[in-house]
Homo-oligomer: 571 residues x 2
């Protein structure tokens, strides 16, 4: 394809609204265009990248016996009512009514649709196991779309659903899919992706993994133990803490703490470390607006995902009213009265001689001993694991927290959807049973952006050969020079004849413009024909990652390029 | 792929709710499943067919310099407000609000999105012409989905948009696309598709063509003149009529016509042919609910598309109230009083001595002479062309009306969208101008269904090689016979090794079940290995269309199949 024909604008300047490099470079390079909040159109080069990613995914899904199908984007709400998610999922699920007033949803995931498709097919054990997948548009009405293609509202996703007659079979297939995902990410150019245990969220089910590309700009936090290899999303990693045990239990003492609303204020005033305080955090449940008062050790943060899962309701920071009886800044577990759900984090278990709110304006207690003063308390894991925390696997104080982009996820769903939607099969023993399900997702655009995030320099993306929009970028510097132009034209034809995807730049622009545009296109192999090279009887070949830069005599150019493509494909 | 692994149910019985064969066969064969009104999921075989169709379309679009891009399915309403279509398009356009209350639409077509994508790119004449296309999900909230994939609410469509700096250039490209469409339909297996002039409808623009597959089950009516080759959708074909001219103008005479509400009643009673009567048809405009009284010759029908275009408003049959002053069954042009839009069809021009309503209950006039009695009337082409009508091109009474399925359409849009959305380019002469657009659509699923409609027998679809879900259907009859099974297994491996797509049926079922399932899968080449054949040292090869049925010695089977595939691909 001729460079001058590529539809899309390129910019020199980094757009002000781009917070991460991949977003900035993909806007600057004419890959994508903003249409609305979290909604983008794709120009040709990005479409080419995404189609190649889709091709890799198809191959790997077919390799594990997947069958490509297609579900609808717009679905009757009744499907989601069957599973119960029409009610339970928040406003990310876009609900609307059609011209006849029928309730509908835009598919953000397709567990319901997959069960609906195979509910009758899967009536005998002999049909199992099987896996169906699609590559299709999804809409998730995100509250805060950000970072270009990393968090959007509309996106293309490969989502797969497997069906099994036993937990063993599900687990075996889950492993197969796990390895298929490793191959997909490696082939797409990010072998450094790691799998971490994750929270199953609104999907339900018991076990799930996220595939993470570690990068400081990622929006997920991952707890990793370099000692034992433990890896988990911070959202679900168990927080383990130890409390100092004093020899003597002090008495509870009410202390006047005027104008001290934060843990820092109070601990500073009392000259106690934060881990010797009991902090209150107040939420409201989205389900019934009820107040939730959560007590946690002062140095720790609440893991809201754990709280949500525990309460089986979404939560939000509370709007504390006077009538609630709560005194913000002075809330403590001793003598707290009112109609609240009260939760205690594990970190307070066996806590001694702590400070806490006095439940009176401008007063705190010291000497709080949990066992003595809150005898009925039940403790749960509700805190966020942090840098230096105890590893839940090996017990050392070794946890490191990294940032990552989730490029894929896999879930063991169990019978959550088959039970709720009444899908049964007749087993060998003549009994009706519910099949078990797994589901497996990869966002195509997010994967493209992640590869860009992992492989770029300040001038543009460095696309791996397997997903690059073109394989070779042919630069004809000074196309007004007859000899150069004739050579470049011939090379363009010859490479295309051999099935090579060539982006051919024969525009009458300076070498500087040509090369900076080429950097933005990120094509792995660049071939430069110029008057100076021509005089030396050669061409220059430069790889986009600047690792290779060599002059090749004209007669060898084609074979050299073919060799380089072959090598790259093998990697 | 093994037949026993194909996910999907097959049925012997024709489903009661299927009105056309392609729908019935594609449900019976496990190609698709009903999800909701006009919404279907696709099983693997249909997905394979659609992907092949998409591949053919991509090749042909790339061949005319198209670049594949992608627009969003869900778009901000503001885009459609810019073009004015947010207001002008009816309830087929699905409007909704997102979680933040922002107005959005589901894309039913993407003229607005295409202009938004290239508005900045196309600022210089040097960038033109260019064409962008996508293959993407669309949603059209049809009032009456029907006939399986022929008229659905959600569908996948290839839609292309071209941009030009002159009408000549647009026309030249339009011709290119016209021929690309002919190639696409021929390659997909329906070379008999014909192009007909069509109404541009809500797209706007001057010239458009629909590509029609003629079939009695089609929902469009097409006027064809076998004499001169004239072809047009009945919706837009000009209706030409001639009126008998009597020597004498009779006087208007009010006649008592009790209980006669229809043209048939009145003409029978007065003993006059229907073409000597003036019929009234009453509509209401959707835009302002105003009444529209349309007069037309009694033997003709109103073409509501023409009326809609003339009024620039959708219309509906009127609900005539007492207050309107209209007397249903007795409405005539003479002495009609009230606040109506009154329209006259061309067929009444120079009409003489006609009967018509008397605008009094139970009375009609005779002797109506249009020029004398309705001196101010303006006449427009508002009637439907019918079988035997005058051909608007050659003037003979030769029109035949056929039914057809619209499998594609192409439009010359002119500057309708570029003007309304403010897309301009700087021309060579230094002036800002609006580019001209063309747009070009093909529905993938509808095309698949149309091919099935064109090529099937009572037992199943007969898929052409180019879009068949598999190329070869290998039937291993009696897999319990070791010799047969070993041969079939080896053939399966060998064909796959050569890149042939094989559906392999080695289930322990009767030959009858195996063959009837194979008929439903519609794979073009069927290879039968059975104990009887094996004894004769040969295999049977049968084509799905029953044109070929031959025995081939075992050693020649692979080469024979390869030859047959090659020949089919060349067709």
């Amino acid at each position: 394809m001729k460079m001058e024909k590529v539809v899309g604008e390129r910019f020199r300047e980094r757009p002000a609204d781009c917070v991460i490099d991949s977003h900035a470079l993909m806007v600057r390079g004419g890959y994508m265009k903003y249409v609305g909040n979290g909604i983008y159109s794709q120009f040709g080069p990005l479409r080419r990248i995404c189609r190649k990613i889709e091709g890799i995914i198809r191959e790997e899904m077919d390799r594990i016996e997947g069958q490509e199908v297609q579900f609808p984007v717009a679905m009757p709400a009744s499907l989601w009512e069957e599973s119960g998610r029409y009610e339970s999922v928040g406003s990310e699920l876009l609900r609307f009514t059609d011209r006849n007033g029928s309730k509908m949803v835009l598919g953000m995931t397709h567990e319901e649709a997959s069960v609906q498709l195979v509910r009758e097919y899967g009536k005998s054990y002999a049909k199992y196991p099987f896996m169906i997948y699609q590559i299709q548009t999804k809409f998730r009405d995100e509250a805060r779309p950000r970072a270009g293609l990393i968090r959007v509202r509309e996106f293309t996703m490969k989502d797969a659903y497997s069906f099994h007659t036993s937990q063993e079979d599900l687990e075996e297939y889950y492993q197969k899919c796990y390895h298929a995902y490793e191959r997909i990410f490696a082939r797409a150019g990010i072998p450094e992706t790691i799998a971490v245990a994750s929270d199953s969220g609104m999907m339900g089910g018991s076990l799930s993994h996220e595939f993470m590309l570690l990068t400081p700009v990622g929006e997920d936090s991952i707890a990793v133990c370099p000692e034992c290899g433990f890896r988990a999303n911070v959202e679900m990693a168990e927080s383990i803490t130890e409390n100092v045990q004093d020899d003597v239990q002090k008495e509870l003492e009410l202390v006047y703490t005027p104008d001290m609303h934060t843990i820092e204020d109070v601990c500073g005033y009392l000259d106690m470390p934060k881990e010797r305080s009991c902090k209150a955090v107040v939420y409201q449940k989205n389900s019934d607006d009820g107040f939730v008062v959560l007590f946690i050790r002062g140095d720790l943060d609440v893991n809201e995902t754990k709280v949500t899962n525990f309460l089986k309701s979404e939560i939000r920071p509370a709007e504390i009213t006077q009538e609630s009886g709560l005194h913000p800044g002075f809330i403590g577990p001793f003598g707290l009265k009112g109609d609240f759900t009260v939760l205690y984090d594990n970190s307070l278990k066996s806590g001694m001689n702590l400070s806490c709110g006095g439940n009176i304006e401008e007063h705190h207690y010291t000497g709080l001993c949990m066992e003595r003063d809150c005898p009925g308390a039940e403790y749960h894991d509700l805190a966020k694991i942090t840098e230096g925390s105890v590893c839940p696997k090996c017990g050392r104080h070794s946890i490191r927290v990294s940032r990552g982009i989730e490029v894929g996820n896999i879930f063991q769903l169990g019978t959550k959807y088959t039970e709720s939607m009444g899908m049964q099969y007749l087993d060998k023993d003549g009994k009706e049973k519910y099949p078990l399900m797994g589901c497996y997702g990869i966002g195509i655009g997010r994967l493209a952006a992640s590869v860009c995030e992992a492989h770029h320099d300040e001038y543009g993306p460095i696309w791996p050969m397997a997903i690059a929009p073109w394989q070779v970028h042919l630069c004809c510097v000074r196309p007004d020079n007859k000899e150069v132009k004739e050579f470049a034209d011939k090379l363009y034809e010859e490479l295309q004849g051999r099935g090579v995807e060539v982006l051919y730049d024969d525009r009458k622009v300076s070498a500087g413009v040509m090369f900076s545009d080429a950097d933005l296109m990120g094509v792995p192999i660049r071939v430069i024909a110029s008057p100076r090279n021509m005089k030396e009887g050669c061409c220059e070949i430069v790889t986009r990652d600047k690792q290779v830069q060599k002059k090749i005599v004209l007669t060898d150019v084609v074979s050299e390029i073919m060799k380089m493509i072959l090598c790259a494909d093998k990697e």
